[in-house]
């Protein structure tokens, strides 16, 4: 996994890709092999395997994009690649941690690498700003995470998830307030990582400022990783003490839905728009965290997949256009339908997927989420989510209208094969899983 030691620059990406593919295979190989490593620091179970698979797959696609993205700065490509890989490592830890230490390490590995990537356009102030803001808020949040962990450790005397769960199980009722405080603080930290309101502030700025590729990576892999970890905590570790955080989560979910969708309405910058849409999607996923008691990993996984696919597809079109237009405004899509109907169609599909309109996976994902939420009777929250998705349609269609309705602009996008590849893989899969969801839906 340390492919970055190679310094044959041209080869790096191919090698990485191959390596990832291999790892992907190995990872799948671990299916149903439920084993622990490093005296139960990491635990590989189907949950982790599935999400790792997804993460690796996403990384794969992002790497394929990266060759063209970094075409003109070969000098640093190895650094970028290595850091991206670090992010992946962090994510993998977050999937398979069995111990708060690992959780912490995973998050930090991921975050620190991200700080760098976000700021990686050194001479671009916006990028710097993005990186620094992210760093500032991120480290602040991790401080809370740590404090929470510490308190929990104080209460239980262990970092091991199972032991913690046992502790909560054994002395129901007289759990020390330290524990609750710690749990709540951890929840806050996680809410921050998944960019749920009111801890979402970093997301739009960072997404906008960061290089598009990193944004793509952030909005897919990182979000998924955060949610997976969050879910794991809530569904397993804090299972018995869930109700102490329930209201926080509930309010946060509603806030996130509202903020994400409402704020997105008025956006003119595409990346920022996607950032807000990402927040709103975080809102939908929050519903799953809410109903984590009822083991909704399947829904979470399916939704993450759907979301990742649509978003990557969107970026796969957006990035070359941004490059050509030298701008990241929605206007740069104007009249795309005339010049490049195929791309326009693809973009519309991606948008429809994000808006959750059949037959794309996005719809089924939402449907699944709502069923789960209703099932663990969060009636009002679901209703809010429904209204949120009404609003959602509007801003996704802004892009479509720009492409079909507005007069042409003089932007010429060149169609590199890699983008095409990623694009159509994503859309194809999105459509495929939308029509034939059984394998994914019933994965756990």
């Amino acid at each position: 996994m340390l492919a970055e030691i190679f310094n044959l620059r041209k080869l790096i990406v191919p090698i990485l890709v191959i390596g990832l593919a291999v790892i992907f295979g190995l990872n799948l190989n671990d299916w149903n092999s439920n084993q622990a490593f490093f005296n139960n620091m990491l635990r590989v179970d189907n949950f982790s395997v599935a999400f790792s698979g997804l993460a690796i797959f996403v990384t794969l696609l992002v790497f394929i994009l990266s060759t063209d993205f970094y075409a003109n700065e070969q000098a640093h490509i190895s650094d970028y690649m290595s850091i991206l890989t670090f992010i992946l490592v962090g994510a993998l830890m977050m999937f398979s941690f069995a111990n708060l230490t690992m959780l912490f390490l995973g998050i930090e590995t991921l975050s620190i690498a991200l700080y760098i990537m976000a700021g990686s356009k050194r001479f671009d102030v916006r990028s710097n700003e993005a990186g620094f803001k992210y760093f500032l808020l991120g480290s602040f949040a991790s401080a809370f995470l740590l404090f929470g962990i510490a308190l929990i450790f104080g209460a239980t005397g262990t970092f091991d998830l199972n032991k913690i769960a046992d502790y909560t199980l054994q002395n129901q009722g007289n759990i020390s307030p330290l524990f609750y405080t710690g749990m709540v603080m951890m929840v806050f930290a996680m809410l921050f990582k998944v960019s749920a309101a009111p801890f979402h502030f970093w997301a739009p700025d960072v997404y906008e400022g960061a290089p598009s590729l990193v944004t793509a990576y952030m909005s897919t892999l990182v979000k998924i990783a955060a949610f997976a970890a969050f879910y794991k905590l809530m569904s397993a570790t804090f299972f018995y003490t869930f109700d102490k955080a329930e209201l926080i989560l509930n309010v946060a979910a509603i806030l996130t839905l509202a903020v994400g969708n409402l704020m997105a309405l008025a956006q003119t910058n595409f990346k920022r728009l996607l950032a807000y849409s990402g927040i709103s999607h975080a809102g939908y996923m929050m519903l799953l965290i809410l109903s984590a008691k009822d083991q909704t990993a399947g829904a979470l996984f399916y939704y993450s997949l759907a979301y990742a696919l649509s978003t990557l597809a969107a970026f796969a079109i957006a990035i070359p256009i941004f490059k050509a237009a030298k701008s990241e405004e929605i206007d740069s899509f104007n009249g795309l339908a005339k010049k490049n109907p195929l791309a326009a169609a693809a973009m519309s599909m991606a948008m429809l997927g994000l808006a959750g309109i059949p037959p794309f996976a996005g719809f089924l994902g939402k449907y699944y989420i709502f069923t789960e939420a209703l099932h663990s009777d969060y009636f009002k929250t679901t209703l809010v989510a429904i209204f949120a998705s009404m609003i959602g349609v509007y801003y996704y269609f802004k892009v479509i209208i720009a492409m079909y309705g507005k007069p042409e602009n003089e932007v010429k996008m060149e169609n590199s094969i890699n983008y095409q590849l990623v694009l159509w893989v994503c859309l194809g899969l999105s459509l495929f899983f939308g029509l034939y969801p059984a394998p994914i839906l019933n994965i756990f």
């Binding site: 230490t101 912490f104 390490l105 930090e108 620190i112 700080y115 760098i116 700021g119 050194r122 001479f123 102030v125 916006r126 710097n128 700003e129 993005a130 990186g131 620094f132 803001k133 760093f135 500032l136 480290s139 602040f140 991790s142 401080a143 740590l146 404090f147 962990i149 510490a150 308190l151 450790f153 104080g154 005397g157 262990t158 970092f159 020390s176 307030p177 330290l178 405080t181 739009p204 700025d205 906008e208 400022g209 008025a266």
Partner: protein, 107 residues
């Protein structure tokens, strides 16, 4: 947390202390506008956590806590490194470390 303090045993004082430190850190982050100072405040927060962990692990009688502290230190170091790097590049570009200036990205 107060309830926790009344609930007997000496290490509550550590708890209290670290909490205070943590809060000071938070306050610092809130109050100060200079990026460097904010960085330090974050460090302060982390260290309060370290303190807490050590005390707890002593109390719990296992070394997990101490081990964790090392992790934290390492991570903190890495963080600071990255943070400073970013800060430097920012300083290069806009010639200040006041975070209020960093508001190109908004709305």
């Amino acid at each position: 947390m107060n309830t926790a303090i009344e609930q007997a045993n000496p290490q509550n004082w550590y708890l209290l202390l670290s909490t205070v430190l943590f809060s000071i850190g938070v306050m610092g982050v809130l109050m100060r506008r200079n990026a460097l100072i904010i960085l330090m405040c974050v460090e302060l927060m982390l260290n309060s956590v370290n303190l807490l962990l050590v005390s707890f692990s002593a109390y719990a009688g296992n070394t997990d806590g101490q081990v964790f502290v090392f992790f934290i230190m390492v991570v903190a170091a890495a963080e600071v490194a990255v943070g400073l790097a970013l800060l430097v590049s920012i300083y290069r570009n806009i010639g200040t470390t006041d975070i209020d200036v960093l508001s190109k990205l908004k709305w």
